[in-house]
């Protein structure tokens, strides 16, 4: 028995050695290094790195609250988050339709999942030209979808559309695992389609739903709204989200500019991390009962 436990431990350690090493480098070290960088200053002429105190944070604050380039980013980031929640809601309802095996459910599922699996940049090319050239011809309008006030709603719609597949893929699978007997009993008791959804399905899948919501909250400052696909580095600042801004800056930054970006990232983490953890606790506590 003792030998078995020792053999198990050796095998177990061997199995976990690489994953934990990878985690140590690409999660722990990267994030600790990011935090350290936020306190550094890089001298471009000498290549020397020195301690900058909270200097980078002051600069990050200035960018976040004073820079005209980022004046719309707060509103757009928040809007993107709200729209993502709406997209999740839509995904839940579509998944329910699929899990209940309603007419053409499997065919419709393919149509919902397909855009998620296809190349985002190639789909963006098609969608942009369609919006700019085909849409005006089809609906006899002067303006296309990518001009004037239409752009932001169109980008938000595109974001929801492209993201639907992931939630439908996972949620319809989770819903299918709910015992059929529950639904049959509910039907015998006279439960309607939507009553069954609210009284049985939603409470049963609530833990998975919370995971989705928490991922949305956690990604609040990361979402790019597809801006990089459509505009590369040249999006209109009126459309900026912080996710887009951080990615664009990181791509084009010099070594001297890394620390202020790291400081900005640390500030965002400081807001998003407790928010995500608190929301998870709250959502699980307030969740419906499956009884």
């Amino acid at each position: 028995m003792h030998t078995k436990k020792r053999n198990d431990l050796i095998f177990y350690s061997a199995m976990l050695a690489f994953p934990l090493l990878q985690f140590g480098i690409f999660y722990i070290a990267v994030n600790v290094n990011s935090l350290v960088m936020a306190f550094e200053r890089y001298d471009y002429t000498t290549g020397a790195i020195s301690f900058a105190g909270f200097g980078q944070f002051r600069q990050a604050f200035y960018f976040l609250f004073r820079s005209p380039e980022l004046s719309a980013a707060w509103k757009n980031t928040l809007l993107l988050f709200v729209v993502s929640l709406f997209g999740d809601g839509l995904g839940v309802l579509f998944s329910y339709y699929i899990a209940k095996e309603k007419p053409l459910a499997n065919l419709l599922k393919i149509g919902i999942v397909l855009p998620t699996l296809l190349s985002a940049i190639a789909m963006a090319v098609l969608f942009k030209y369609f919006g700019e050239r085909a849409f005006p011809a089809l609906f006899h309008t002067e303006e296309g979808l990518f001009s004037g006030n239409a752009v932001l709603p169109v980008l938000l719609f595109y974001h929801v559309w492209m993201g639907l597949g992931t939630s439908v893929l996972v949620l319809s699978g989770t819903m299918s695992a709910i015992p059929k007997s529950l639904s049959e009993e509910a039907e015998l008791d006279g439960c309607t389609f939507m009553k069954e959804f609210f009284c049985i399905t939603l409470p049963m899948i609530y833990p998975t739903l919370v995971t989705f919501l928490v991922i949305d909250i956690a990604g609040i400052f990361v979402g790019q709204m597809g801006l990089y696909h459509f505009y590369a580095d040249d999006a209109d600042p009126a459309l900026f989200t912080f996710g887009y801004y951080l990615f664009r800056e990181a791509r084009n930054a010099t070594l001297a500019e890394y620390p202020v970006l790291a400081a900005m990232g640390a500030l965002f983490t400081l807001v998003a991390a407790p928010l995500a953890l608190f929301s998870k606790k709250l959502l699980l506590r307030l969740g419906p009962s499956a009884d």
Partner: protein, 296 residues
């Protein structure tokens, strides 16, 4: 009165389902309409496209757009001294996506197996790390990641990017974990009595039993990596993948490549391999994946 109530009840049953059906049908039609529209445009000349952006070309079909897109789908490297063509980009995409998908899936699977099947405390910690990391955002770590990759000599190499992608963090760990924790233990216990070691049990029993799941996750990851242009753009600049090539081609302003018909033909060239993979493995890809549990 009774029949009126019945009617109300019937419509309460049917109406939400009809609304959902119509919404889903709209999304379904939109994606296929967009793809067919793209296909029609890719066969038009610029003049035909300007005259009529909707519908298949009247008159001649311009298949040469594909040939021209294929020829122009180049990414310049080293200040334009070297040009990487589409075939090489497909090769880099295949290397990046196959290697990345294989290692990422294997690491998730191995970690999930070890933590689900052995009762050591570290397993619980690893599980908690995954759950916490899913909901704990670390924002703006890209500069740090770039610097660390350079420091470790992993920047701009396939080995480096595979290593970076070979993480157990993420939802697929949870999916594998649920599968291993829920699998019956009697077969592995019988094998153990017959003298099979841990490695043999894993390779000959656990892996084949989770083979379908492994394959599904790997295909999904493969497609994700195939389509990803942002990671190779940042971490693999000397090996432009086809998705990065598409990004470059889309924003390329050289005269011929700037024609919308050619850009759309380029997009179709990039979409086709994934579309074929999707058709081949459609049942598996849109099959049922479970993230967490359901309430008992």
């Amino acid at each position: 009165m009774k029949s009126f109530r019945k009617k109300i009840k019937k419509s309460a049953e049917v109406l939400p389902a009809i609304i959902l059906f119509l919404l889903m049908a709209a999304f379904f039609l939109l994606v296929f309409f967009l793809l067919i529209w793209g296909l029609s445009v890719s066969l038009k000349s610029v003049a035909q496209f300007r005259a009529s952006p909707i519908g298949f070309p009247e008159g001649e079909w311009h298949f040469e757009n594909y040939f021209n897109a294929f020829k122009s789908f180049n990414v310049p490297l080293h200040g334009g001294r070297v040009e990487v063509g589409l075939l090489a980009q497909y090769g880099y995409s295949l290397l990046y996506a196959l290697g990345g998908a294989f290692f990422a899936t294997l690491v998730s699977c191995v970690t999930a197996y070890a933590t689900a099947r052995f009762p050591f405390r570290l397993g619980k910690i690893v599980y908690a790390i995954v759950v916490i990391a899913l909901g704990l955002p670390i924002v703006g770590a890209l500069p740090s990641q770039l610097r660390l990759m350079s420091l470790l000599g992993l920047y701009d190499s396939f080995f480096g990017i595979w290593f970076m992608q070979a993480s157990f963090l993420g939802v697929y760990f949870l999916i594998f974990h649920a599968a291993f924790a829920g699998a019956p233990k009697d077969i592995s216990e019988a094998a153990e009595i017959d003298g099979a070691g841990n490695l043999r049990i894993f390779l000959e029993i656990a892996l084949p039993l989770s083979g379908k799941l492994f394959f599904t996750v790997m295909i999904i990851k493969f497609i994700g990596f195939w389509n990803d242009y942002q990671t190779p753009m940042l971490f693999l600049p000397s090996f432009p993948t086809a998705a990065y090539g598409m990004y470059y081609f889309f924003f390329d302003t050289r005269t011929t490549s700037a024609w919308p018909t050619m850009k759309i033909a380029g997009a179709i060239l990039l979409l086709t391999p994934v579309f074929v993979v999707f058709l081949l493995f459609q049942k598996r890809l849109v099959g049922d994946l479970m993230l967490g549990g359901i309430k008992e």
